[in-house]
Symmetry: C2
Subunit: 586 residues, 2 copies
């Protein structure tokens, strides 16, 4: 029985559904867990990754389903909503299904964005915990990250104050850190633009070393990137020692291991390897693990959660951040390469309204009535907009996967519009299903669930876009042409110089190529909708992350610290002091 989402707000549906959420005992029973594999944690237990993987080691993996989307528009495509809907639809079909999504950051939640928990009858619960820190993984990452900065800045101070002999007494060797060449900044999980560029260490000899520094949002931390791609605790631990925090005066990298802080960082992060267990409003299990930042990271739920989900479920659904040109590309060439896991199918989410915008529909201004192009049938806009969809179908097909297009239904969609999209998607070699999960929950997602199950019966000849042996610049060229549809790549001198250096240094041979580009267009220019033609991708710079082992070619600027707006969401949040219930979050 679905709730009426035209009458009830998301938080009201969540509140109703939360009344019957499985208890820890029920989860243990339903998921066939050993008692000590479920670590209780309020309403959101964690799963003990190490213990479970040991027990399930020899169990064959379930089907691996990725959810991605067309290029986003302000009208929204409902990727998380569709992920929840698909879980519910497969659940309604009696399947052993589960999924994994990312934990939202406190920054956007307190600023402008919703909580990324889906919507209507396709919703993740419990919503309050999900929106406000969950089981503390982001806090743990923040603490581990800032501890590295404490180690760095304290070391710089002590090296400035003490002679080599005095350092030796403390069993310390001078690292000779170059204050003009510090890579790492601090983190906080809010949108604190005032901390973007700061000067620290003002005062006397014991007040630190004076220098420029910076804060990023916690979810953009390299530690979060590492958590999302680590295969296990051993891998995590190793990478935590390889983070480059700064360079010495001769240009040699100084790592967290050089600062002897990597073990303690891992201690603060010890609980983060255990995914948190939440569920849909129809009680299909869904893990929440790792964070949302898709710019300099994979921007999807973790390899750890996917490894665990594939052991636990016959169908494991995972979501990739942003649109298919970024999210799917990273899932395909980075995440799956690192995990060795092979996906069975990708679901490509689209809405009729978003397709119309890609087809040249008018701009939508918040607060003003939506133009009638979006509320009335308009087949020519839909047809033109399908270009973006078809381009991304083709991108996904290059991996060997035949995608399922999901038309996330809206009440203004007409039969003719839907038919048109279906025909075009099928002609391009994709399955296509309409889904009404927002309105009807799992009952509305049966067509999608059936299409996905059907697709999972096919063998996938999964292949990467490029081999690891391919040099960096050629990789970027390949991605730009084959995925974004660019004519080629233009290298800024700084980027080209760095690229040459990385290509010739064997140390960077197996570093992943983690593109940084806007998600609002297939190109680097956010305003170019549909499928831009006749353009070249400019690469300005390349960032290096030694722990995550990422090289990030920058096809656009990124801010690691978003800003808080003049009408932030925190203004409307409060607590009922009699019950402790949080209000105004959604």
């Amino acid at each position: 029985m679905a709730w009426d989402p035209t009458r009830l707000k998301d938080w009201q549906i969540a509140e109703e559904a939360e009344k019957n959420m499985p208890t820890p005992e029920e989860w243990i029973d339903r998921l066939g867990l050993e008692k000590d594999e479920l670590i209780p944690y309020g309403r959101t237990p964690k799963l003990d990754f190490i213990k479970m993987m040991k027990r399930l080691e020899n169990r064959p993996d379930g089907k691996y389903i990725e959810v991605t989307a067309i290029t986003p528009t302000p009208l929204g495509e409902g990727k998380t909503t569709t992920t929840m809907g698909l879980l519910e639809g497969l659940g309604k079909r009696g399947q052993n299904v589960g999924g994994a999504i990312r934990q939202p950051s406190g920054g956007p939640t307190m600023n402008i964005k919703g909580t990324a928990a889906g919507g209507g009858n396709a919703l993740l619960i419990p919503m309050t915990e999900f929106s406000l820190g969950l089981t503390g993984d982001i806090n743990d990452i923040m603490n581990a990250h800032n501890l590295a900065m404490v180690a760095l800045t304290a070391r710089m101070q002590h090296e400035a104050n003490y002679s080599d002999e005095e350092l030796a007494k403390r069993n310390l060797k001078r690292l000779d850190i170059d204050p003009k060449n510090v890579e790492m900044g601090w983190v906080i999980d809010f949108c604190a633009q005032a901390l973007r560029n700061i000067i620290i260490g003002i005062g006397g000899k014991k007040d630190g070393f004076m220098m420029a520094s910076k804060f990023g949002i916690a979810v953009s931390s390299e530690l979060m990137a590492i958590l999302s791609i680590a295969n296990d605790l051993e891998d995590l631990r190793k990478r935590l020692g390889e983070i480059v925090v700064a360079y010495d005066k001769s240009g040699k990298p100084i790592t967290t291991a050089d600062l002897e802080v990597d073990g303690a960082m891992c201690a603060w992060m010890r609980n983060t390897i255990n995914p948190t267990l939440a569920c849909t409003v129809e009680y299909q299990p869904c893990m929440v693990h790792a964070g949302p930042f898709a710019n300099i990271a994979v921007g999807q739920s973790s390899i750890i959660a996917d490894r665990l989900g594939l052991k636990m479920f016959d169908y494991h659904v995972t979501e990739s951040g942003f649109a298919a040109d970024i999210g799917f590309e990273k899932f395909w060439n980075v995440k799956c390469r690192l995990s060795g896991l092979k996906p069975n199918v990708s679901v490509l989410v689209a809405t009729i309204r978003a397709l119309k915008m890609h087809g040249g529909g008018p701009t939508v201004v918040p607060g003003r009535p939506i133009p009638e192009e979006y509320t009335k049938e308009n087949l020519s806009l839909v047809e033109k907009g399908c270009e973006n969809l078809l381009h991304l179908i083709n991108v996904i097909r290059k991996s060997g996967i035949k995608p399922v297009v999901c038309i996330n239904s809206f009440y203004t969609d007409t039969d003719a519009e839907i038919k048109l999209v279906k025909r075009m998607a099928e002609q391009a070699g994709a399955r296509c299903a309409v889904s009404e999960h927002w309105l009807k929950g799992g009952e509305g997602a049966l067509e999608l669930a059936d299409a996905v199950m059907d697709a999972c019966k096919e063998e996938v000849d999964f292949k990467f876009l490029y081999p690891l042996e391919m040099p960096l610049r050629q990789r970027v060229e390949t991605i730009a042409k084959e995925v974004y549809g660019a004519d080629g790549v233009d290298w800024y001198p700084l980027a080209e110089e760095k690229a040459k250096r990385f290509e010739s240094d064997p140390r960077y041979k197996d570093f992943a190529t983690m593109m940084v580009k806007t998600h609002l267009s297939l190109s680097h220019e956010p305003t170019w909708k549909g499928v831009p033609k006749g353009w070249r991708l400019p690469i300005r710079d390349i960032l290096v992350y030694g722990g995550a082992r990422f090289l990030c070619p920058m096809a656009g600027s990124i801010s690691l610290m978003p800003g808080t707006s003049s009408d932030p969401a925190f203004r409307r949040v409060d607590v009922d002091v009699k019950t402790g219930k949080v209000m105004g979050l959604f």
Copy 2:
């Protein structure tokens, strides 16, 4: 059966004891809880304060026992160890006993200090969780605190960038914050001296407002002070809106409520009102709640934990930070006044070795052998050092409480030394017990337990040192003379000017007087041991905390951000990647 602490390290004893820690189900059974009153949380569940207080409302309170100590020396008195020992001793006597202590900060834990979990057979478990963030209360406080700073700094930027009309569109009125008069800083829970004095907001119009700012350690946050003195969630919520973050250009205070961020702060702190349940190695329950900062706060476990403990246990033991001149004085005149709770007895912890140091024993240098004054019988040093003990017995007796002196035994103590202390303490009107809890656990603390139970049979005519009607300067004078033993108070011009203002403004009438003074001496001068004579207490400044409702007269400088040393503890911490076990913490 106690472990052998001369052979086993604390973490080894903890590890052994943790094997048989009560499960959530066992706690529910043992403590007579309703099932939903225990919120599971790994090995350290939380107690649902709201639900429990509602159920236990009409239950009479148990006996209220406070633990404090003589003036500290580098040799240590073992206050937390004694708290654990007393819980164990009362447990061995078959009593329904429990306690409350504070959660340690990540700063000292990663820097130089141990984890404040007691020692030997008088130890709190689980040690790893206790040392590394527990159930996240400090993180929640850090986030709530920093969200206020995000609100402040974003508001300053938007007011600088927008006209009154543009602000009005967002339903905002210009607050006209004075950037030269910002009170609040940011927090992080490590010793990050490099963040003590910083400049923020460097960059363009959207990169914040450029100004001086600062970071304090998270446990020094006013929010932590508020958590420790709030009576319930309603009280907490109200105080969270009254925090003064800055002043406007006319000098009027700007509060968190003015920034409309207080509700959201409370949402981030919603779980902090529920104390965490840990236990001794002999499994007596002990709550952990609120943080350690005793300078500008009460520096003890919370009123909430004590209210709950008194309902749950027949004997509730709570610890006060620092020595009796600070910890007990604040317990007495601030914490008990705010809670309305009446203590039955105070335990005043001393060691023979610390008394010798107060009696003029030689300085102890770390790394060098301890002088033989401390290892061989020396009655004259003990007798002279008892002055400090007797002074503090007298201080406690002024509250109407007849204290129990606990001689925390060490193997070098001689019978004659112990006899001497006992005789002097008893002559001063105190009970006195020797306790060997470190060596023998509860079995070694029976004498102490019996003395405490005996003391609890007496009626206490509990009275405050000063009435709330007493003006600020007179209060400080009273505390200085009656508690510290000063001849009087010297007011610096700034402090005197502020004091006059606060005395004449009815707004500050019920603000608590929260002294700031070193704990290493009864005086303001850390090197003056024993009972300094012929001195006057200088007050340099008075800090105001509007949410906590504290006025803090400063008889010394305080740093809200300690520094990380050149040989910090984090160097030795690591994780076993096969099991997730943390090593090197203790």
